[in-house]
């Protein structure tokens, strides 16, 4: 027990761990707050699709010697709007639209990395996340993102709730549904790009889906779902990151495992209560 506490104290004394915790908590908070709108609108897998796009953009950035963050954020944002437009204008269902953009991006990323001499350590670290790679820029961008997400959800709460429940009715009463959807898509894109530093492109969608699905098992209204999802997400990030240090495990996978355990407990609890 004492050695675990010592290890946690040791972890917290490292700058990289402090940055990872702050960025992780802020990304966890942002992804959980956006998750409810994506999950209930059946756009859960948009996180997965956009993570694949960000894999391609990281490959492009490394190939060009540019900063991955500043290449990824605009391209991933445009892709998220493209996915929504494919869904709306070309009549392609949300899951198919995500699949198209996602597989095309992975192919592009693989081609670029092949041309530039194969997968290198940098690109690999983006696949599964690397908390050692988190820089101060990530930290500040995460702070700005989290503030943006929290303010958006607070100030546009009723509009977002209405659109999530019934988009046709929302249009009729004058809510600008398209603009609100783009707002969510943009914030999701930035969350994904920043989040892949922590958990990687392969696992980032779990940070959007797991906390919301867990919260849905026990919540009764919309607000409480958002609050419970945010608490679960932050808890998973903190326990996952510290646990991964103590047990010498990959941090991204540890965070997802904690999320998975919480979902299991919630489903069990719901099953017992409903009996």
């Amino acid at each position: 027990m004492n050695s675990t506490i010592n290890l946690i104290q040791e972890a917290l004394s490292y700058g990289f761990m402090q940055r990872a915790l702050i960025v992780g908590v802020l990304i966890g908070l942002s992804s959980a707050m956006l998750g409810i709108f994506l999950v209930l609108k059946k756009f859960s897998m948009i996180g997965d699709g956009l993570a694949h796009v960000s894999f391609a953009t990281v490959a492009i950035a490394l190939f060009l010697g540019a900063s991955p963050l500043f290449v990824s954020i605009p391209i991933v944002t445009v892709s998220s709007i493209l996915i929504m437009n494919l869904n709306e204008k070309a009549g392609i269902h949300g899951d198919a639209a995500i699949g198209l953009v996602s597989s095309f991006s992975v192919a592009l990323g693989v081609l670029i990395s092949s041309v530039s001499g194969g997968f290198n350590v940098d690109l690999f670290s983006y696949l599964f996340g690397s908390i050692l790679a988190i820089q101060k820029t990530d930290l500040w961008l995460s702070v700005i993102l989290a503030i943006g997400v929290i303010f958006t959800v607070i100030f546009y709460y009723n509009d977002l709730f209405a659109i999530t429940h019934d988009e046709a009715f929302s249009s009729v009463i004058g809510i600008p549904t398209k603009r609100r959807n783009y707002l969510i898509a943009t914030l999701t894109s930035v969350t994904i790009v920043l989040g892949i530093r922590v958990v990687g492109t392969m696992l980032i969608s779990s940070m959007i889906i797991f906390p919301t699905v867990s919260a849905l098992q026990i919540s009764k209204n919309f607000k409480s779902t958002i609050i419970i999802a945010a608490i679960i997400s932050v808890f998973s990030v903190v326990v996952g990151l510290l646990g991964s240090y103590v047990l010498n495990l990959p941090s991204g996978a540890a965070i997802v495992m904690i999320n998975g355990i919480i979902l299991g407990i919630m489903m069990l609890y719901k099953g017992i209560v409903q009996r």
Binding site: L40, I154, F161, A162, V172, I175, S219, N221
Partner: protein
Amino acid sequence: MNSLIRAENVTVRYGENIVLTDVSFDVQAGDYIGLVGANGSGKSTLMKAILGLVPIEKGKIQYSGVGRGHTGIGYLPQVAVTGNTLFPAEVREIVGIGLLGGKKFPKRITKNDELAIESILEKLGILGLKNKKIGDLSGGQQQRVLLARAMVSRPKLLILDEPTSALDPRVRSEFFALIKSINENDGTTVILVSHDLSSIKRYSKKMMVLDRELVYYGSSAAFDINFSMARGLHHHELND
């Protein structure tokens, strides 16, 4: 008479496909109009044109006393009943959405709004469901909640797009009777789209039959049953 809506030669096209041709009619205050037609006859398109959700290629729709979209029109969309039992919203939250149309940023539900929500729930006989989760309710109860959402802003005109298609026959009759009482007691004008010809004929004051053009618009009592057969409507329902 006081016309709430006057449509003149309205034509709507989706790409190459003309869905409505030269449709003209008046909707007067206090009307209860049943809109019927076979699948693809343009019923939902006409409702969407009135609500400003689809562009009109030719002709025009004039509004008097009701603004297009948000002011004065309550809307119950087709297949609005939520099939997702996990949707985390209480009845009062859902009904509150109906009050957002007239609000400015940041849109907040006030104490007065809560009273308006309670009042409409009481009127529709579902006040006891106020704090229930929408997904836990029966189809008929959910449809009443969505009707409350459409009515909470006290609209002059209610547009209901196939509100009973997911309901069983007994609940369907109750719903039609409820709409009739709202029309008669409150004077709310109603346009109700339905496949249920027998209920429409029984409960509505006027009937409008569409087949990509307006083929009948007049009193429900005078509506000719044989005419409906020729138009491919659900005649068998008249014998229920």
